[in-house]
């Protein structure tokens, strides 16, 4: 030994050495007090690159705000929370990053995900590793149905919820029956197309055309010309990310006046369309919600980040709070206990979902039942500022009806959850 120990170091080392020897392992070498103060880590996977890249920034800000607010109130189980964010990029990278979060960072749970393809891949991975995951941004029904997992929960709405909300409204209020579909050629788009088609067929409508566009398509003019020639009474797009921006801009610029709607919308991709935005969309959260909790949250977000939150910021904010509620309820960070705590859990306290009505995770498929909002593009003359692009037309289902009305019915779901252990 080259360095002499002073008295204090000698005492600690020998005491710990004895304790370790007694326990028969050297991993207990940390004093208990240090372990208690180690933060509870939550992993976040969210895209920062590629055609979904823009929403990653919002998702990270939402999750960060949630962690900051929770830590101000003492964190969870008396420990601070810490967020570790990684780029989900593509399914392959997302799985690698999930492994890194689980094995190296020892996160208690993973939240986030936007691409359905990535979410499906990471879902399989967390089920193998038995680590809780909350999907805050991927929409494919598959995630909750055929490929549902015991360790995977969804705060994000699924395609069925979104499409039921907008589709029934369009058919009933706008009386449109001849639809033309434009769909992103990947997991999310295909799933959304299937759900939208089913709804149109159930209402005895006609499909006058359907095109699949590769993700990252920059020029939609040919698709638009095809639509014009087919003379539909509604153009229903199942696009995601930057493709939404490009399509809606170019649609407006083409001078076409046929009604346009989308199976889903991210405001982060609608804002850059600017004054030419038009159409009707279903959205999971919008800044015009009038309940006090939602307004207060939007104000806190603006104060912290200098711009209003989008729906993805809402999703990740909600997911982090759901994880914290699970930890408090289970009084543990053990993944299996967290899963049990969330099954059938109704969001409570400060973060009840910000919708002025109780929101509950279904126990049998882990979907958070949520209302959707049909929004219409606002005329520029009515904007308060450049963020003020939508007006809420309707909450679906209405307060008088059950949130089950727009969700995947149990009879149609193929979800078979694995046993917990």
């Amino acid at each position: 030994m080259t360095k002499r120990l002073n008295r204090r170091e000698f005492l600690t080392t020998s005491a710990l050495g004895t304790a370790a020897a007694a326990a028969g392992t050297s991993t207990l070498f940390f004093p208990a007090i240090v372990r208690a103060q180690e933060p509870i880590r939550i992993g976040q996977l969210i895209p920062f690159t590629g055609f979904l890249g823009a929403i990653g920034e919002y998702g990270k800000q939402g999750a960060t705000l949630a962690v900051e607010e929770l830590n101000e109130k003492g964190g969870a189980l008396g420990r601070k929370l810490e967020l570790i964010t990684e780029d989900e990029a593509n399914p392959g990278v997302a799985v690698q990053k999930a492994r890194k979060l689980i094995e190296k960072d020892k996160v208690v749970a993973i939240e986030g995900l936007v691409s359905s393809a990535s979410c499906l891949a990471v879902g399989d991975e967390v089920q193998r590793a038995k680590v809780l995951m909350i999907n805050a941004g991927a929409n494919s029904d598959e995630i909750r149905s055929k490929r549902c997992h015991r360790y995977v929960f969804s705060t994000e709405g699924c395609n069925t919820q979104y499409v039921s909300a907008i589709g029934n409204w369009l058919i009933k209020e706008r009386k449109v029956s001849r639809w033309y579909f434009l769909t992103s050629d990947y997991a999310f788009g295909h799933d959304l197309l299937r759900v939208a088609r089913n709804l149109l067929m159930a209402n005895k409508g006609t499909e006058v055309g359907s095109d699949l566009a590769p993700t990252g398509t920059t020029d939609f003019s040919q698709y638009i010309t095809k639509m014009k020639a087919a003379k539909p009474d509604l153009i229903f797009h199942n696009l995601a990310g930057a493709d939404v921006t490009n399509f809606l801009k170019q649609y407006a610029e083409s001078g076409m006046t046929i009604e346009v709607a989308g199976g889903v919308i991210d405001s982060a991709f609608a804002w850059p369309v600017g004054e030419s935005l038009r159409g009707h969309f279903p959205i999971i959260w919008w800044q015009e919600l009038t309940n006090p909790a939602s307004k207060a949250w939007a104000a806190r977000y603006v104060k912290r980040w200098g711009r209003p939150p989008d729906n993805q910021a809402y999703g990740d904010y909600l997911a982090v709070h759901a994880i914290a509620q699970a930890i408090d309820k289970a009084k543990s960070t053990d993944s299996a206990k967290l899963v049990s705590a969330l099954e059938g859990h109704t969001l409570t306290g400060a973060m009840d979902g910000l919708k002025g009505r109780p929101l509950t995770f279904r126990a049998w498929d882990h979907q958070l039942l949520q209302p959707m909002y049909v929004v219409a593009a606002k005329n520029k003359a009515k904007w308060k500022d450049k963020w003020d692009i939508f007006e809420i037309i309707q909450e679906v289902p209405p307060r008088s009806a059950s949130l089950e009305d727009i969700a995947i019915p149990k009879a149609e779901s193929q979800c078979q959850l694995e046993p917990l252990a």
Partner: protein
Amino acid sequence: MTPAVFAEFLLNGLVLGALYVLMALGLSIIFGMIGVINFAHGALFTLGAYVAFQVKDALGFVGALVVAPVLVGLLGMLIEATLLRRLYLQDPLQGLLLTFGLAMVLEQGIRLVWGLSPKAFNMPPALAGALTLGALTYSKYRTFILVSVILLIVGLMLFLQKTPIGTIVRAGSRDPMMVRLLGISLTPVLTFVFGLGTAFAAIAGVLYAPLAGVQPAMGVNVGTAAFVVVTIGGLGSFWGAIISGLLVGQVVSLSIYFQPRAAEASMYVLMAVILLLRPRGLMGERWEKFD
């Protein structure tokens, strides 16, 4: 398909092709003169759109269309004079690596400065809406793109054919040694050519901005397409870039009509077929600089 719809299809393909031509001309002129394949071309396209976004409120769209390419072109000249120039006598791969790295630095730099969220770039009011010509209605702005690109091609051609610098550029791309022996210093000409090429990428970016959101990855697909166009046309060939750009525009357009899922693949299939039949590309004279 009615004649009006068919005409619209051809026009759409022409506008798409026109953007490819702009990108490809920039790439081609740089390669022809300097022998470097500029991998940062897509990122410079994006930078052009962002700079235009930044200045358009103060200068208007037309002002931005002039100022953004000039600024990006100056940046290109700076890059040539400080970085690229050191590598001329080295292995050509080094220049390739430099521009490859530059592409990443530029794209991440854009993310740092402007953030990840796409920016709204509204259509200039005077160019919004559609023109009607009999049964055909067509977007004013797309017509504006077509006219602008034609003017730019004519301008570049006149510059290369009729001005003293243009003559040096053409001579330099044929036989740099001979030009030097005649007592003409090529150093400032190379700097200028790199700046000109990057300015063309920036012009394409600005023209494209009102059609799409301005976002950090907007140049990726266009940049890749530009490489395909240049390869098909023949590396370093002026007319090759133009013919090939228009050809690729039509092929992509038509494949969207018949089989949209193949739209992305169609240009690569075209490239493979042409390279099999003619390895140097449509108008390529020889395997310049790659021997």
